[in-house]
């Protein structure tokens, strides 16, 4: 399962779930699921979120947990 730092970087930028969802083209529910580590995004979505959160690398935001 994937763990994410979306909440951390989103709060740092001061943007809401709704705003992030709009920027990356998904629903707010998808952002909620991602923040709760319930949903594994596609590489494209992970890349869009990384860019929206002003990070360089996908692994800065998404941490793959092989366990």
């Amino acid at each position: 399962m994937m763990e994410t730092k979306i909440t951390y970087y989103r709060n740092k930028l001061g943007i809401t779930q709704e705003e992030l969802a709009k920027v990356v083209g998904v629903t707010r529910q998808t952002i909620i699921s991602l923040e709760q580590n319930k949903y594994n995004p596609s590489l494209i979505l992970a890349s869009k979120i990384t860019q929206a959160l002003k990070q360089k690398h996908i692994e800065d935001v998404f941490i793959f947990n092989s366990k």
């Binding site: 083209g25 998904v26 629903t27 529910q29 998808t30 699921s33 949903y39 995004p41 596609s42 979505l45």
Partner: protein, 141 residues
Amino acid sequence: MIGKYNWFKRRKYTGWGFTPATWQGWLYIVVLVIPIILLTGDGHMTQTRIILLIIWSIIFVVDFIDIMIHLPKDERDRIHEAISERNALWVIVIVLAVGVAYQAAQGAIKGIVQVDPVIIVAILAGLFAKIVSNIYLDKKN
């Protein structure tokens, strides 16, 4: 097309199709229904009215399909929809197969062939749709 897809959202928990998400969506439904009521309300179906009803129905079936195709969905929605549609389809296929077996058994007892051909055609049509989808998807990615 008449209806805009962002007026609607996918019907998630109450069946198939879409449900209005904005006032424009509700207005669309009203606009869809009023002519049908006007054409059929008094019970007198003339040939002109039947033709108008058929034309009106075709317009909205085409529009309905267009809206269904373009409904706003993200990747998570698509995955959820695919899984729930697959589950629904499996239940339908099982019920139809049990129905065919029941009808065949009833027919065998009576010594006649008694299976509803519509059920067989429905299962075969589904099989065909699955084959075509898999060929298309294999070629696409």
